[in-house]
Amino acid sequence: MARDDVKTGYKYVGTRPNRPDGLDKVTGRARYGADFSLPGMLWAAVVRSPHAHARIVKIDASKALALEGVKAVVTRADLPTGLTGEDLNLQDNTLAGEKALYDGHAVAAVAATSQLLAQDAARLIEVTYEVLPHVTDVDAAMAPGAPVIRPGVADYSVPEGMHGNVARYMEFGHGDVEAGFAAADLVREHTYKTEATHQGYIEPHAAVGQLGEDGRGEMWVCTQGHWYIRRMSAAVLGIEAANLRVTPSEIGGGFGGKTTIFMEPLTLALSKKAGGRPVKLVMSRSEVLRATGPTASASMDVKIGMKKDGTITAGQVFFRMQGGAFPGMSPIGEALPCAFACYDIPALKHEAVEVIANRPKAAAYRAPGSPMAAFAVESMVDELCRELGLDPIEVRLKNGAKNGSKSSYGPVYNVIGLQETLEAAKAHPNYAIPLGPNQGRGVASGFWFNHGGETSVSLAVGEDGTATVMIGTPDIGGSRASIGLMVAETLGIPYEDVRVNVVETGALGVNEPTHGSRATFASGKAAVEAANQAIKEMCKRAAAEWEIDAEAVEWKDGAAHPAGPNAGKFPPMTIGEIGSKMGGSGGPISGHHEVTAGGYGASFGTHVVDVEVDPETGRTTVLRYLVVQDAGTAIHPAYVEGQYQGGAAQGIGWALNEEYVYGPDGRLQNPVFLDYRIPVASDLPMIDTVIVEVPNPGHPYGVRGVGETGITPPLPAIASAIAGATGARIRSLPCSPPKVLAAIKALKG
């Protein structure tokens, strides 16, 4: 799929070497969040609200503090006042203020000399609650009579007359949708719902924090972004961010859920109260599920018009999303632009509201907002295709966005690969496999913007001719390898001679987290620029040695060369030679690059899934699964495939079995992996992948982020495959067996 005008034939880019951190990770040596310990360290435990909504009348910690070995208790009273905006939200979530806003909301924390003792002490902290009426469902939260959870939460965007739980409203669009619907041969309108799901990283949140009387502190933490942790923790505690040094551990998965703070500042607050002793806090799985960011739940109205030939004439959506008890956390701002991003449709209208409910503060989850939007829009497109007897790939080819299309949300797409993914899916053998009884096939496309963001990278040339790269984006799935490959390619030295280290907040300028599919794109782009800067300096050193102009030296294959016959005849000077002499030739050689990286290109994907449904139990088995996605350039194809497969697996879980189940009491009923059912190995088939490469002109090696798009298509693709297998359309995720069986029985009448 490579285009003629893009450089190919790389030596290292596109190969599949071992990742540098692989050895540590297969031997148990890699240190994750909970693996850090320090001399004199205390352990912490958190007291959490058992109520979905309650006024905190009194907190009595006297019994806990009377236990020998208990060193400190913190409550909201220990935190500074006067915060506003998102800082206040973060503080409110770290420790509840006047009210506990969801089941699992932290109310107090205690530090003691052992983990068991801290847990015992937490059980002795007596909290008196005045239970308040609650609401957890997104539609119920907007119903007349629903309790208003946080009066005055609405921002300027909310029109008069909306429910008191609506915090935000947005709308945009283009064209005349009514004329579009009038021109269609078939117009359908339905409501689709998705339940909240959790990122489900296997590593629970963990941190060790230390804060002295002088307001200086350190934290070791599993996070996708330690500068964010630093800024947020400092804000919550009212300390200077610069006085806090944060070192990221290896990270056991994040998927967006570790881009923010939940309990991390508590380690610092407890440490300070305990005389500066370091404090370790590790969440249990149920704490992770109850009190860290799941995604939003959504209720979405969709209306689309289509002509008999498959032309989509108009589309309209109204999304309602709740992201917990805190404003600003539901991804309406992403879901709406993603809704029709795969299409070029003459008339579109988008509206959405954010709704507050008694649920935990949502966090980003892989392409936040996009999977829900795709479930609604792609399901509806599939319904229209089936009703009109049209091939779903042909309809997408016909209406799909192309190079130069004006996107549904405004900007014009530069170079994109949606059409290529559709063609590749159509040509794939999976699309031609005949289906048996009770089997169905689903197709859907998906989109993610991708992201650049604040990035700072340093590179140091070693005396032995190696290069050490310092990046600020934690390696969550092989990015050290991909960045190492790009630096090796740029410097012209073996991949094994490049070391990529993820460094702490004191070692680089601000870096945004590993989020938005930006690490390989943005840290990679900055690393390449840093390498280029080092190359420039190395050419200068060679020129000085040769006594020629620096402009007369060029860099290739890991060495400085005279640039043509006029420059003089000198044997190439390798990076090793230059490195070994740099002390005497002007000092250490390094490169550095800081940028708010632009030029990230969107990544589109198309998935094809075949399922079989047991008509007697409603149970769905995924028979085969195909992911086709545009990677721009696949730097390390094995980890690109891994992103595709992992995204698909999470999407399959969301589509089939994962959901937050709240009881009538507003408590989460399934805060364990036993009942929060992520896919297990025996649930899935091999996941076939096709890497389409339409290089991104905004990156020196053509990289597009690949992490997020893959979770988007499975939701509608699976629901559509189930519709194909059974005739029953499930418009409310998950497609759990009871729901599917009920739908099958309803069809039979």
Binding site: Q119, S284, T617, L674, D683, P737, K745
Partner: protein
């Protein structure tokens, strides 16, 4: 918490009888440790039964049945070829409990005493006519397995009583058993519905049958109506339909996070049919 390691069931019963706070017995521990971790139970006394001689043994009884020690984990049951040949349904029920790792620890007796109506090993034991030997301060008694659970998380054992063995009756000729459960994933879930069928044939005709249903009532149900639906039949379509109807009629489930009432009733019928066919084929010797 006091951790006890008695070396006889009499000692275990005596320790248990003398406790005043919260008491738990520890066999495989796969339920007790989870409950402790979740803060649901903070035992004052924990009695580890694994130091009692013989608890890890599977032995033939004089009558030709099987006596299974209370600490025999699922993986050992599954690896016991003769036991699997006699009671494949009982073993497959136990082997469905949790993961491979859980199979390394979890036991029949523990699964039974946890008192869950959804316990995967219990319907198979009930259908097989298994008997629990119970040791207490006043000696030992035998209780049919179906009489052990009293409701979710509760048993009919008296204070100081502990299960000291599970006995399966002799398989006898022309018999077969099977257990099926419904879960949304392929592994790692709690049964939404479970059904075990144990039957004996005379020629093509079912002459004896015991059918047990799990997760459709506060305890595992031994259903006479289901047994009646197939006794005297060749398990033809009419008999299977009658069995399904009987199972649906016996099921008195609730709706919860794992499934709706309607779903459980429907699936009870489906599983009864499917399990009966497997048990029938096993009795005929036409399948494993």
């Amino acid at each position: 918490m006091r951790y006890h390691t008695p070396t006889s069931f009499a000692d275990a019963a005596a320790i248990a009888a003398g406790t005043t706070g919260t008491l738990r017995f520890l066999a495989g521990g796969t339920d007790v440790l989870v409950q402790m971790r979740a803060g649901m139970v903070q035992p004052d006394d924990l009695i580890d039964l694994k130091h009692i001689p013989g608890v890890d043994k599977i032995e033939r009884t004089a009558e030709g049945g099987w006596r299974i020690g209370v600490a025999v984990p699922g993986i050992v049951l599954g690896g016991h070829a003769e036991l699997v040949r006699d009671w494949p349904g009982v073993v497959e029920g136990m082997n469905l409990v949790g993961s491979t790792q859980v199979q390394g620890r979890a036991t029949l007796a523990g699964n039974l005493c946890n008192g869950s109506p959804a316990a995967d090993s219990v319907p198979g034991m009930v259908a097989a006519g298994a008997v629990a030997t119970v040791t207490g301060p006043n000696g030992t008694r035998e209780i049919p397995v179906e009489n052990i659970p009293a409701g979710p998380g509760k048993t009919n054992l008296a204070k100081g009583e502990v299960i000291s063995a599970i006995t399966l009756p002799p398989r006898g000729k022309n018999g077969g058993d099977a257990y099926l459960r419904f879960i949304p994933r392929t592994e790692m879930d709690i049964a939404v519905v479970g059904c075990a069928v144990n039957l004996r044939l005379d020629g093509d005709k079912v002459v004896e049958a015991r059918v047990a249903l799990g997760a459709v009532a506060p305890t595992v149900l031994l259903s006479e109506a289901c047994a009646k639906a197939i006794i005297g039949t060749t398990l033809d379509d009419a008999a299977l339909a009658a069995l399904a109807k009987a199972a649906e009629g016996e099921a008195k489930p609730i709706s919860d996070k794992r499934g709706t009432k309607e779903f459980r009733i429907d699936v009870a019928g489906v599983l009864a049919r499917r399990a009966a066919k497997i048990a029938y084929d096993r009795a005929k010797g036409t399948s494993k």
